[in-house]
Structures are given as structure tokens and as C-alpha cells.
Amino acid sequence: MNRQKLTPYLFLIPGSIILGAFIFYPMMRAIWLSLTEYNMIQDAEFIGLDNYETLFQDDLFWQTLMNTFIYLIGVVPALVIVPIFLAVLVNQKVKGIGFFRSAFFVPVVTSLVVAGIAWDWVYKEHGLLNYALELAGIISEPIGWLTSTSTALFAVMVVTIWKGLGYYMVIYLAGLQSIHSDLYEAARIDGANWWQQITRITIPMLMPFILLVSIMSSISAMKVFEEIYVMTGGGPLHSSETLVFFIYNEAFANLNMGYASAAGVILFLLTLILSIINIKFMGKKGNLT
């Protein structure tokens, strides 16, 4: 009898140990670290909220926070809206559609290091983008997309969007295939055109998936790091540095473990707020919850 009562816990042991050791314990440790000064050489020294105070007076911190928000505002709407149209497009039953679905998914499986190298070619001074724009007469002189403070962040945003489109497209594809075709049939009989079908049937029926994509893409935009690290290194002049890049630099380049942890706690709080906003806002619109 006693053994039977124990059984459920036995199944939970391995997973709980991992989550405990690599999430719950580090979480508490991170909060504690954020209240200390610690450089890995000397012992950690408790300094209360000093790190947070310094953080709020640190111009670089505010700049990276600002860059992160710009990133969020630029990337999330594109990743929520464009993949809907891609999904509608590849949901048609035409010949060779499987090839196109896979082609759109290729950027998802390639590593960001490869993607960064490939896009570097597009953005180079003598690269494809400058050539195309000059040909179209939009610019007269090549622009250093990744080396100019006014364009670097936006150039990296395009890569994030490019890499995410296929992934969210597939999520929407799952949503589209769960919509009954009778609905479209009925709408067509009532004389609804293509646009009306999208706005009156597809979008409302996709609402749970739109919420999912909105949460996923905003949380991952909040944590953007790799494309920045690979393509611009945060530069020029910190113009493309984001919050996670700031945390990484403080922790692993400057060994300010306490200070970096404080910035990490801010990242956690922002992610939390963002998810709550998403669920509240989208939940109302999509009649969820």
C-alpha cells in the first residue's frame, strides 16, 4: 500500500531533480547574486539594492533596453502577421507545394552562425542589397548596413524575421488545417470574397494560434542575442546591443556577476509582464480563457 502511494513521486524524480538543479536553485541563486558584488575571484559581498540603483543610472543599460523594445516592436508584428499569409499560401493544394513548405522552413533549421555569414553577404558594401537598391535608383551610394549606427539594428531584425517566418508559418498551417472547409463553402455561397474570407473566417478561427505566436515571438525577441553576437557584436557604438547582450557582456566579459544578474532579473520581470499583457489583450480579443 505504501509503495503504491510512492509510485507517482518516483516517476517525477528525474525531471524534478533537473528542474530543481537547473531552474529553481539557479533562480534563487540569481536573485541573491543580484544583491551582491561578485567577480568570481573574491567572495560575493552583499550590497543590497545597489546593483539595481547603478543599473537605473547606467546609460548603456537604458540604451540596450531601448534597443530591445525597438527590436520587439519591429519583429513581433511581422512575425505574427506575415506567416498567416504564408500559411494561407502554402495551404493550397497545388503541385510541388511540399517543396515550397520545406524551402520556407530551411532557415529555421540552419544555425544562426551560418545565417549570419550568409546575410553578411547581402549587407556588405559590395553586396546584393546595395546593388539592388542602386539599380532601382533608391540610393546613389552603397550603405554599410551593419556598420552604420542608424541601420545595424534594423538589418539584424530582418534576419530574425527571415529565420522565424517558416516556423510560425507551420504553426499557422496547423491552425488552418483545423478549420472546417464547410465554413468557407458557406461563406462563398453567401458571396464573400477572398479578403472577407480571410478577415471573417481565417483570422477569428486562428485567434488561439495568433496568441501562441504572439507570446512565443515576443518572448524570443525579448531574449535576442545570437544574431547580434554573430553579425554586429553589438556595434557600432552599442547601437545594436540588446538586453541579453548587455547581460552576457557584463557577466562573461567584465565578470560583473552580481550586476549582470540584476539585469537578468529585470529581463525576467519584463518577460513576465509581456506574457501577461499578451494573454490579457489577446485573450479578450480571441475570447480565450
Binding site: P8, V108, I117, W121, L173, S178
Partner: protein
């Protein structure tokens, strides 16, 4: 002729609309494919250009004047591709295996047993989704140093072998299986572990595939954590190795392009073989997750 078109004007015009729609669809699909795969085409072109050809020429040229494979040969001499590939495979295979094992073990009692603290445990597990790894990486790094886990496979693998997403996904899968199956198996003398392994696991194969795909994509492309925990080049995974390669050969773009292509080849081959599973796996994840 004139008569038939008068008799049957609708079918002709609808057919015309149908054909134009199809042509437009294909044009859109091809343009989008160029956008999604274009950067890679450029990598291929550069990697195949010989040393005598100016790769920075303006306007850019896609087709090489003289096809050559020497860049690939040269890069393989300095780029320990097989070593990096081996490391990537070890890290990914173990991460995927343990993640599937631990998540489905933990999900079983949460889906099919009643015990004290069940809801609290489930909510605790789900709450870990809200905590960004970018905050945890600082204490985990300090912890790993103390445990001697830096530059080891274990150090790269351990933090990622249980995820809330995995537990949630597997719990959903176990929940929909009729309870009678457990009961009849128990009558036949099977214990809980046997029921889990022999009866339930085979029934949730599609969800296991989904979890494998998700974990595979993240583990294979992971860059930030290996970047922090690994400094020994013998332990580099493919993204780390390529990142270093592009740092060493800053001047020779042909070699960087060849290296990038070589390092993305395994995942592309793997993806092309299993593309259906990749896409349907992500679709299932979206519906259930």
C-alpha cells in the same frame, strides 16, 4: 465557338480566374523561395569561386567564372569538421534522449494518477517556462565551474534535459488515452512502470516525434550556452567551430563560405530526409502546446 462561349460564359471566366490565380500563386511562391534561400545561394556561389576571381566585384556575379572545389578541400584541412560534427551529434542525441525520457516519465503520473500535491507540482513545472535561461546561465555557469562541468559534454547537456514544454506536451498526450487500458493491464499483473513503457509510450509516438523535433532544433542550433561553458576547441560544436572559423579567416570569404556550407550540410541532409516529420511535428506541437 461564339455560341458555346455565350452558352457557357461562367465556366470559361471562372476557369480563367482559376488559371491566373494559380500562376500568381506560383510567382509569389517562387519570389518567396528566392528570399528564403537567396542568402544560401550566395554562399554556394562564393564557395565555388576560384582564387583568381574577384568576389567583391560590382555588380555582384552569381555564377562563378571557373567552378572550383579547392575552397572546400582547403577549409577541411584547417577546420576539424568531423570533430565538431561528432560533438554536435553527441550533445544533440543525449539532450533529445534524456529530454524525451524524463519528460514522459514526469508526465505519466501528472496525467493518470491521483496523489497529494499533484496540482502544485504541475503548476511549478509550468512556471519554469516563464524564467529566461539568460538569467539562469550566470548561476549555472558558476555551479558548473565548481562541479568541474566546463568543457564537458555533461556540462552542455544537463541544463536542457527536462523542459516544461516537454512535460506539458507528453501530459496532454497521456491524458487522452482511455483509463481502461491501465486497469486491464493492472489486472494482468503489470506494474506502473510496465504500463508506462509497454502500453502508453507506444500509443503516444506522434507526440514523442514532436518533442524530438523541437528538442533537436534547439539543441542542434544552440549557441549561447556552449559559447559560455566551452572554451576548449576540441569540445566545440558546429556553430561554435564555424563562429571561430569566420573569425580566423576574416579575409578569405571563399573559405568562410565553404566552411559555412560544410557545417550546414548535416542538418540540411537530415532535414530533407525527414522533412515531413519536421513540419508535421511542429504542427502537432502547435495544436497541443
Amino acid at each position: 465557338m461564339a455560341l458555346t462561349s455565350v452558352n457557357n460564359p461562367k465556366s470559361l471566366s471562372t476557369r480563367l480566374i482559376g488559371v491566373t490565380k494559380k500562376i500568381l500563386t506560383y510567382i509569389l511562391l517562387i519570389l518567396l523561395t528566392l528570399f528564403m534561400l537567396g542568402p544560401f545561394l550566395w554562399l554556394v556561389s562564393t564557395a565555388l569561386k576560384s582564387g583568381g576571381e574577384n568576389i567583391f566585384q560590382y555588380p555582384p556575379k552569381l555564377i562563378p567564372e571557373q567552378l572550383t572545389f579547392t575552397n572546400f578541400v582547403k577549409v577541411m584541412e584547417t577546420f576539424p569538421f568531423w570533430r565538431y560534427l561528432f560533438n554536435s551529434v553527441v550533445v544533440t542525441v543525449f539532450t533529445v534522449f534524456f529530454n524525451v525520457l524524463f519528460c514522459s516519465l514526469a508526465a505519466y503520473p501528472l496525467a493518470r494518477m491521483n496523489f497529494k500535491g499533484k496540482n502544485v507540482i504541475f503548476i511549478l513545472i509550468l512556471s519554469t517556462m516563464m524564467i529566461p535561461f539568460q538569467l539562469l546561465m550566470i548561476p549555472i555557469y558558476i555551479m558548473s565551474l565548481n562541479l568541474g562541468l566546463s568543457n564537458t559534454y555533461a556540462g552542455m547537456i544537463l541544463p536542457h534535459i527536462t523542459t516544461a514544454f516537454g512535460v506539458f506536451l507528453m501530459r496532454q498526450a497521456f491524458t487522452v488515452i482511455p483509463k481502461e487500458l491501465d486497469e486491464s493491464a493492472r489486472m494482468d499483473g503489470a506494474n506502473s512502470f510496465q504500463i508506462w513503457l509497454r502500453i502508453l509510450m507506444p500509443l503516444v509516438k506522434p507526440s514523442i516525434v514532436t518533442l524530438i523535433i523541437f528538442t533537436f532544433i534547439t539543441a542542434w542550433g544552440d549557441f549561447l550556452w556552449p559559447l559560455i561553458i566551452v572554451s576548449d576547441q576540441d569540445m566545440f560544436t558546429l556553430p561554435l567551430g564555424l563562429n571561430m572559423l569566420s573569425g580566423t579567416f576574416t579575409s578569405d570569404w571563399r573559405l568562410i563560405a565553404a566552411g559555412a556550407l560544410i557545417s550546414m550540410a548535416p542538418i540540411i541532409i537530415f532535414f530533407l530526409i525527414l522533412q515531413r516529420h519536421f513540419i508535421s511535428g511542429v504542427m502537432r506541437g502547435a495544436v497541443k502546446g
